[in-house]
């Protein structure tokens, strides 16, 4: 059974993702911040991290870069609802979902997924990143 760690500051998001992936046969743990994620990764062997990008303290992009350095074997999926959150100046062409996710990809995420997504999309993405047949 493969281990997945879900990192998101929204408990509802964490729980629903865990619920879907649990039912799909994965072993899922959840944490609410990047700091907790590092501790969790150090404690338990993990195959995949699903992380939000816009989070307080350490944001997802930084978290991905650190995870890629410390745990190179761990696969990563970045998820984000996007928007110009936290950007002081609004500009239609400035940082958006696409931009966030693009920077996540650049930081080392193996796949990016925009919120909200359906169960099927989530499971397919996880399978794709972990390689089909590893379930």
């Amino acid at each position: 059974m493969q281990n997945i760690l879900v990192v998101d500051d929204e408990p509802d998001v964490r729980d629903s993702v865990k619920y879907v992936l649990d039912r799909a046969g994965y072993s899922v743990r959840t944490v609410e911040s990047a700091m907790d994620a590092f501790a969790e990764l150090a404690r338990h062997p993990t195959d995949l991290v699903i992380t939000d990008i816009i989070m307080p303290q350490i944001n997802g992009v930084e978290a991905i870069e650190s995870i890629r350095k410390a745990f190179p074997s761990v696969r990563i999926i970045a998820i984000s609802g996007g928007g110009n959150f936290g950007v002081t100046e609004y500009h239609p062409t400035a940082i958006t979902t696409t931009a966030y996710l693009a920077s996540a990809e650049k930081a080392g995420a193996h796949l990016v997924l925009t919120k909200p997504f359906e169960s099927v999309e989530l499971i397919r993405s996880v399978e794709q990143v972990l390689g089909v047949g590893h379930a």
């Binding site: 629903s16 619920y19 609802g81 959150f85 609004y90």
Partner: protein, 500 residues
């Protein structure tokens, strides 16, 4: 104390009259004196000369010895000497001419002056030396004719003086009028200048050098004034324009800031909603998998899922729009093609009650834009227009033209104007002001998310173009988009499609 001021010609005329009031009596008395004196002198001279000649006649020869001769000489004095009375008095004996006036009784013995005695007779008494004794020749000359002549001379003089006065006054009036005419003209122009009309030239044609020079000086002053005025007006206008421009910029800035604020808020909300939608969709999905194929709970949950997907679509619209702008590839495109394609798409959607008219220029230069986004933009405007005319007949006019437009600094810039005009409900000023804000809508819930025009605004901005709205309640609305035209040199210098 206020000084009495009269019109120039009245002033001059009054002065002339006043001078003559003093001058004319003096002239009258002076000339009268001369007339009187000269006439009297002549008269007296004649009387005396005649008397002396007659007396000599008595002295020489033997006139005194003949009574007849005495009488003849005395009669001669009356008939030819102009005397009215002639008497020879010799040692108590008196001989008088019978031709003389009988009413003159007494000849005075003294040499009287002219006009004396009140009898109208001038007496001359002349001694005659004869045979060693003295006799007296007494002659009386009538003053009446000379008095009449003096009177006549006076009458003529008065007429002459009166004529002179009339001529003097007339000359004064005419001269003063001639003098005051150029002055009045100068006055009229200076009045016009003081009331703000600087355009009237001081063109005074006068033979008076001082006035001519004054006019020339004033004209020079007026020129200077016009120059100063023009410069001042230009300055004021410049200031006004910069004021208007400043206000316009401030308005644009406020508008932009509000769009930015609302935009930031909208993205924030989008993010939050996306987070909320994750558990709704995932849990509903999972629950549906556990439920039997039919039944009320399943139907209900399917509706929850459908609603969540709709919510997702709404949010996606905001973010998709951002992504589209992110990915926009600006290139030189032909707007006529975009209009044609959009019209083709729109004709399928448009209800038959709407008549579509086009006013498209033959020659439209290329503009820098993204064809897909431009189509999106046009479709948005068309949809907006036909929704404004919904349920009624209406005319949708689509125009495309190329023209030069002077910007704020007065430089003429070529641009392509695209407009969409409807005959729909129209909007009030408050609505127009907020029309480009995201989520601002006048439509009822379910008809639209109110994103259309904020999307339009974003796309227009990404092209470097500008958009304006004119609307009148009950008349309709016109949206105009102005695309800057890229200079030909730039196009030639960069033939490859321009990528942003």
């Amino acid at each position: 104390m206020a000084r009495l001021r009269a019109t120039f010609w009245i002033y001059v005329t009054a002065c002339v009259v006043l001078v003559h009031l003093v001058l004319l009596p003096a002239l009258y008395f002076g000339m009268g004196y001369v007339i009187r004196e000269s006439h009297e002198d002549l008269f007296v001279e004649h009387a005396r000369t005649f008397s002396r000649v007659l007396a000599d006649e008595f002295e020489v020869g033997a006139a005194m010895d003949s009574q007849k001769r005495i009488e003849d000489l005395l009669d001669f004095a009356i008939t030819h000497g102009g005397a009215r009375y002639a008497e020879l008095y010799d040692r108590g004996r008196s001989v008088r001419s019978l031709y003389g006036s009988s009413d003159i009784k007494d000849a005075r013995s003294t040499d009287l002056s002219f006009g004396d005695g009140g009898d109208g007779i001038y007496f001359v008494v002349r001694p005659i030396e004869h045979a060693f004794h003295r006799a007296e020749l007494r002659l009386g000359f009538d003053e009446q004719p000379i008095q009449e002549r003096i009177q006549l001379a006076f009458t003529r003089m008065i007429w002459l003086l009166a004529g002179y006065l009339v001529v003097a006054i007339a000359t004064a009036i005419i001269l003063s009028h001639r003098l005051s005419r150029p002055i009045q003209r100068l006055q009229a122009v200076s009045r016009a200048i003081s009331s703000g009309d600087y355009t009237r030239a001081l063109n005074v044609n006068t033979g008076i050098r001082e006035l001519h020079e004054l006019a020339v000086d004033l004209e020079a002053m007026r020129h200077e004034l016009v120059g100063v005025n023009v410069r001042l007006e230009a300055k004021i206008k410049e200031k006004e324009i910069s004021e208007v421009r400043r206000e316009e910029l401030q308005k644009q800035l406020r508008h932009r800031q509000r769009l930015e604020t609302v935009g930031t808020l909208a993205s924030g909300i989008a993010h939050e909603i996306n987070n909320v939608l994750v558990p709704i969709i995932l849990f509903t999905d999972s629950a549906l998998q556990d439920l039997p194929r039919s039944g009320a709970p399943r139907a209900n949950l399917e509706r929850v899922l459908a609603a969540a997907r709709r919510a997702k679509d709404i949010v996606k619209k905001i973010l998709t729009f951002s992504r589209e702008l992110d990915e926009a590839k600006l290139a030189l495109i032909d707007l006529r093609e975009v209009v044609a394609e959009s019209l083709h798409l729109f004709s399928v959607l448009a209800p038959p009650t709407i008549e579509i008219r086009t006013e498209i220029d033959e020659s439209i230069p290329l503009v820098r834009a993204d064809a897909t986004l431009a189509t999106h933009l046009l479709m948005n405007l068309f949809t907006n227009a036909y929704q404004a005319m919904e349920g009624a007949k209406g005319v949708l006019t689509i125009g495309l033209r190329y023209h030069e437009h002077a910007d704020e600094s007065g430089i003429s810039r070529p641009r392509v104007e695209f407009w969409v005009s409807d005959t729909g409900r129209g909007m009030d000023a408050a609505t127009v002001e907020r029309i480009f804000e995201p989520f601002f809508t006048t439509r009822s819930v379910g008809q639209g998310a109110g994103l259309g025009l904020s999307v339009v605004h974003g796309i227009v901005e990404s092209f470097g173009a500008s958009i304006s709205v004119e609307s009148r309640i009950g008349v309709g609305t016109t949206f105009r988009i102005f695309f800057p035209v890229v200079a030909r040199a730039e196009v030639i210098g960069d033939p490859t499609p321009l990528v942003a």
